[in-house]
Symmetry: C2
Subunit: 205 residues, 2 copies
DNA sequence: TACCTTTACTAACGCTGTTAGGAAAAAATA
DNA sequence: TATTTTTTCCTAACAGCGTTAGTAAAGGTA
């Protein structure tokens, strides 16, 4: 008699409906508004039932976190496998990464812990343009000095800023283990200098 | 008679004490635990007093957001002004940026909206290493093909990943305006390709 | 039918941001 | 100085949150 099987099946159905409802809420109103009570309401069960399937709210988020990285990995692999040469593969990976992030903002935000309280900002902070200005003026100067006069300063500024911010934020989210016998700080400053070197070469042509 | 002046001074004192208390809480236990009640408790006033000085919690965070960008801008300017040549200035800026971020984690996290619910992770997600693997294998292949055999794949992987993530997350936080007559998407994909090109050059030596 | 296990509920605890309304203190006026 | 007005500040509440203890009902077993 398949009683236990049916029970297991029903259990899984409820679990899936929790994830489905959660995703709907996140999709509609963002991670910040996701709550256990809303999920319970959506699946037409009481609150403690949710806790029979997930230890706590974080466990639900973890599930999506995993899904997100799985999906991203798959997309990168797909993009890579479309081309035979590694050089072209790398660009395809970059584009695929970009498309994933913007085609699945909810996933990406969760995966990298984006989306804190004051996130509307960035645009509305006057101090931001002042700090960008420091980078801008330096790069402007470099273009003036170099041979690559057609280089677009804004483009280069964004590239430079992005690189550093990416490096920083990845390291702020997870404490990297030691690589190559270097401390994480040494390792990352090596990346920083390596990148700056390549960046300068791109400006000097 | 300086009654209004004294009142204004006292008002400012309370306002400052709110910010001071808030900063202490954030420094001790992180942004996630900051609450109006805790602030009120720390300044030995009741909750509504806080609302006499800040419209809401976000206004307090905005204040620190501004401070953060101001401080970052100043640090970058300092670093820049220590050197005469733009090329060296740029590296100094990169290092100063890094040092600011890790010397002022609280500011940086707020400024870039880092620090969501499931942020312990990144390390504990098995799917992450799978997705990194796709990038790793491609770069490994490129090093094998190129002339720069001593290039460190891990270093390059982190550099590549950081660049894309930085670009993505900055664009997810704020919708960039159109630059150079390109849509933001076009603009950023140009950066992406430009960066990939330079990156490849660095691998080929 | 009597028993036991599973399932799902109500109700609570201690938090959160935010605000309405009233008491007390300070200042201004008479 | 006494009275009135204004400012200051607090208590208490609303509505929401994650989480859990304790209980009633339903399902399966003997």
């Amino acid at each position: 008699m398949g009683i236990v099987e049916r029970k297991e099946r029903q259990r899984k159905e409820v679990r899936d409906s929790i994830l489905h409802a959660a995703w709907q809420i996140v999709h509609d109103d963002g991670w910040q508004t996701l709550s256990i009570r809303k999920i319970a309401d959506a699946i037409e069960y009481s609150v403690p039932v949710v806790y029979d399937h997930f230890e706590n709210k974080e466990a639900i988020l973890s599930e999506f976190n995993r899904q997100g990285f799985k999906l991203l990995g798959d997309r990168l692999k797909e993009a890579k496998d479309k081309h035979p040469k590694a050089a072209i593969q790398l660009e395809a990976i970059a584009i695929a990464y970009w498309d994933f992030a913007f085609g699945n903002k909810e996933y990406y935000q969760l995966m990298y812990g984006l989306g804190m309280p004051t996130c509307e900002s960035l645009n509305s902070v006057p101090e931001l343009s002042a700090f960008i200005g420091v980078i801008y003026s330096t790069i402007e100067e470099l273009i003036k000095e170099g041979n690559n006069k057609t280089a677009e300063p804004w483009l280069k500024v964004h590239s430079f800023w992005s690189m550093i911010h990416g490096l920083v934020s990845i390291n702020l989210l997870s404490t990297q283990p030691a690589h190559l016998g270097l401390t994480p700080d040494e390792f990352n400053k090596t990346i920083l200098k390596d990148f700056t070197k390549g960046f300068l070469k791109g400006l000097a042509e």
